[in-house]
Amino acid sequence: MSGVPLPVIQGLQVVTVAGGAPGVSGFIAWLEARLQGRRGPRVLQPYLDLAKLFGKETLVPQGAGPLFRVAPVASLACYLTVPMLIPVLTSYALPLGYMGDILGGGLILAFASFLVAAAAAETGDAYAQLASSRAKTFAAITEPVMLLVVFTVAMITTTDLPYVLGATVRSGPAQIVRPAHLLASAALFMVMLFETGRIPVETHTGTTEFGMIESGRSFEYSGPDLALLQWGSAAKQLVLYVILLNVFVAPWGMASTTSLLAVALAIPAILGKALLLGCAIAVLDNTYAKLRLFKITEFVSAALLLAVLAVFTLYLGGG
């Protein structure tokens, strides 16, 4: 069987994330509504929303500079660059996979979020600025957690390429039950809840501006720009899910050869895994209440505790 060319697989990774992301968001919103006894929006609703928004005109607030128009496009581009670096479909590294490590991917994600925040600051809208300043404040305290998770990965694998950690986890049960790996995964999961704006940090679809962190930043946007931002945040969510699933928690079901069948099967596999994780997220959303803003530091300090303990257990040689 002739193999699929590697650049095509690389492109497919990006297409999978870009195409699947709104569906995953839609599924979580639908399941959450079902768990609350509502009928909920249909799973494909985010796609329809995007189509509707792309058909409208864009309005720019008075006095907003060019960054306001650039940010949505640039941030979506950043979010779609990361799938080239991480294992989405294949368990072997693709040509551009060595372009950046986990830190590189984190840097690109942080840059995208910085662009959105800077653009929100340009608008002069109090709520958008409030949300972006909050997002940056809390991002500054989640960053140490991410760094410690990366340290843990680096100490386990002696490198920080995501492909290698995935291969290490697949190598046997001894790698899975070791406390350092479990702790790093749990800390990453908590950071992911924060980054994707889920309960207990913020309500994902809330309408009260006072509780908003991530979702308040797009207040002044309309039309195609708003569509790009929404698509970007869905893509960011799926990228983080893929990192958690394919690198840390469940690096199985990926293509190990270049054959067409294996690659074609890997696409529904990763989307299915993301939907399973989405089920867990929806249950969490319905189980906990949103934390008060000043309690978020406690949430982050718990994540920090997990990440610090991961590094400690490794240093003691037992992890």
Binding site: P179, T297, L305
Partner: protein, 226 residues
């Protein structure tokens, strides 16, 4: 093309034992954060369950059958009897919320991370090697003891302090599993009955204190004059 980990991972048994010991430590941190007395008692029950599971894991993995008896006994006493007794006392006292600590939760956790790290590395350099459990479990148990001290120091109510003391005993149990898993059963059982004595003493303390000051808080004890 891809290299798996070059570091050798601990065996599956060591990994599981370490993870359970780690859960004991994490539940200790949970007690530090818990705002409700009842939640604290529940976390203590969970921690004792983790200690019993660890004893059972050692019994299974290292073929030390008398540890099964210890696991069952500590399950009965520390997971069922002691929490029920404390909850009964709480019901009489009619208080729900633990006395707030002298520090905020975030500071408490950060200080405990520091103190726990000290315990970790202090034991790490001793180079104690055990036949049955990995050294990391010993370090974790010392960290549990130290964090339990922090819990007793920063909290200002009798129940939290009692829970801190009982969970300290859990840390010591884990340490004894590492250092001397084959310790004669009678000694370990003596430990457990020591705990029962402590429960009685703390129960009397809680009742007397509550009757005298109408609260579980120890704050007004500062003002006592001889």
């Amino acid at each position: 093309m891809l290299l798996a980990a070059t570091y050798s991972a601990p065996t599956v048994f060591d990994g599981i034992a370490n993870t359970v010991a780690l859960i004991v430590l994490l539940l200790e941190f949970g007690m530090l954060r818990a705002a409700l007395l009842r939640a604290q008692v529940r976390l203590y029950a969970g921690q004792s369950l983790a200690v019993s599971v660890l004893a059972a894991v050692v019994a299974f993995g290292r073929h030390v059958p008398e540890l099964y008896a210890l696991a069952a006994l500590s399950l009965l006493l520390k997971v069922v009897v002691v929490p029920l007794l404390i909850i009964g006392l709480l019901r009489e006292a009619n208080e729900e919320i633990a006395g707030s600590g002298t520090l905020g939760v975030t500071q408490e956790v950060l200080i405990s991370i520091g103190v726990g790290a000290f315990g970790f590395f202090a034991v790490g350099v001793l180079g104690i090697h055990s036949e049955v459990l990995p050294t990391a479990a010993l370090s974790l148990s010392v960290a549990v003891v130290l964090v339990a001290f922090i819990l007793m120091i920063v909290r200002r109510d009798v129940v939290s302090q009692a829970i801190g003391f009982f969970s300290l005993e859990n840390g010591v149990s884990v340490a004894s599993l590492v250092v001397a898993a084959g310790m004669p059963l009678i000694l370990e059982v003596a430990f457990l009955f020591d705990l029962l004595v402590a429960v009685v003493v703390f129960g009397v303390l809680m009742r007397t204190h509550h009757r005298r000051s109408q609260s579980l808080s120890t704050e007004n004890l500062d003002r006592l004059r001889g």
